[in-house]
Each structure stands twice: as structure tokens, then as C-alpha cells.
């Protein structure tokens, strides 16, 4: 929690494998000591079993240019803390490796005294991560074969 005072500190957003619901719960629970927080907003990305040309996505294999992604994330964090000064904490985690359909791959978590700032920050950070972070996703089909996922 003390790290919140230093939004510019270098962080690694990447975790190997899916994001466990218990990890999310632990992260939420850590904020119980912060009595200035009134609102938490969370976004979670879950792998969909999309059907593409008759084949069904079984999993996404995520890779990333991690150094660049973490640098971009640091910039996005700074933008968000500037724009929403009442935000007290911002946590972002993204999976690497094979994430099966139904598993969680992306976790954005902002806290603030009031809900508007947390809500807007999560929307901004979620959208910017998808746009600016060099993360690559290979959608692997149950029937064999794959396609490369593409945001927008």
C-alpha cells in the first residue's frame, strides 16, 4: 500500500498464467486499511470462446514486449494520476502464457474517495492498455489451428 505514494515507481504488470479470483480478493482486502477510500472500480477481461469461421477459441496464448509494455503502463499511470487526483491507488495486471476460455487475463483496479474518479480512471486505463501496450494474443482453436487476435 505504501507504494501508492510513488506512482512513478517501475512495476511489472505481467503475471504468468490466468489471474485467479483469490488474487483479486487479496488485492481488494489490502485496501481495508485505507480509510480515505470510498469507492473501488474493477475491470476484468475474460477469455471468450469466440467462434471464428466455424472454429471455437479454446485459449489465448499471450506474449508481450514486456519492457515496452511496462514503460507504456508507467506513462498511462502518470496520466491517470494527473487526471484523477483523488484516485489513491491503481493496480494493473495482465496475463502471459496460455489462458483458457473462461479464465481471467486482465485486471484493472482503481480506488478513490468517491466513485466518479475511480470509474473514469478504470475506463481510461482499460482502453489505453488495449491501445498502447505491445501485447499479442494467439487465439488457439479447439479444432486445431490459430489466428492472431487484434484489438479494433
Amino acid at each position: 500500500m505504501m507504494s501508492e505514494a510513488k506512482p512513478h515507481r517501475k512495476r511489472d504488470i505481467f503475471v504468468e498464467g490466468a489471474i485467479a479470483p483469490s488474487f483479486i480478493a487479496d488485492n481488494i482486502a489490502k485496501h481495508a486499511t485505507r480509510h480515505d477510500i470510498g469507492a473501488h472500480e474493477i475491470f476484468l477481461g475474460q477469455v471468450r470462446a469466440d467462434v471464428i469461421d466455424g472454429r471455437s477459441v479454446d485459449a489465448i496464448e499471450y506474449t508481450a514486449y514486456a519492457d515496452m509494455a511496462n514503460e507504456q503502463m508507467t506513462a498511462i499511470r502518470e496520466e491517470a494520476f494527473t487526471r484523477w487526483p483523488e484516485m489513491t491507488c491503481l493496480h494493473v495486471h495482465h496475463s502471459l502464457g496460455t489462458i483458457k476460455a473462461g479464465e481471467l487475463c486482465f485486471f484493472v483496479f482503481a480506488s478513490a474517495s468517491h466513485r466518479q474518479q475511480a470509474r473514469e480512471a478504470v475506463a481510461y486505463v482499460t482502453d489505453e492498455v488495449k491501445k498502447r501496450l505491445p501485447i499479442f494474443g494467439k487465439e488457439v482453436f479447439t479444432e486445431g489451428g490459430h489466428v492472431w487476435k487484434q484489438n479494433l
Partner: protein
């Protein structure tokens, strides 16, 4: 110089890093097109020292160069 490749482009090239000697971004693009089949038809970006660069620029050879297919995070 070593060039980092990711995702679809690494797959097409059959490698996640290749050696190329380019003295500028434009020269790099030309060398990449010759080296990676179908690259000219793909959408990709080039990052120099972890920032996407659009316009031609000279290289000293000390840059960290990466070739990035479309992003798919989230």
C-alpha cells in the same frame, strides 16, 4: 543490429530475433520486407528504444529495435 520480432511477425519469420544491418528506419523496413515473407501486406509498427516511430530516422546501431504486429492486450 538485433531486431526483436513478436507475434504473427515472429511466426512468419520463424524467429523472435533476427540480425539486420540497417542505418535508417526506411532501410530497416526494406530489409524486413525482404526477410519476412508477406510483411508488406501486414499491419505492423516499428519501435525504437521502446517507442513507436513512424518517420524515417538514422540509426547509430545502439538502438533497441522491435517489429510489432497489431496489439491484442486485454
Amino acid at each position: 543490429m538485433e531486431v526483436l520480432l513478436f507475434g504473427l511477425i515472429a511466426e512468419k519469420a520463424g524467429a523472435d530475433r533476427i540480425q539486420l544491418d540497417a542505418s535508417s528506419l526506411d532501410q530497416l523496413r526494406a530489409l524486413l520486407s525482404a526477410r519476412v515473407e508477406g510483411l508488406a501486406q501486414m499491419s505492423y509498427a516499428i519501435a525504437v528504444d521502446r517507442r513507436v516511430v513512424q518517420n524515417d530516422m538514422p540509426f547509430t546501431g545502439a538502438e533497441e529495435i522491435a517489429v510489432l504486429p497489431p496489439f491484442a492486450g486485454g
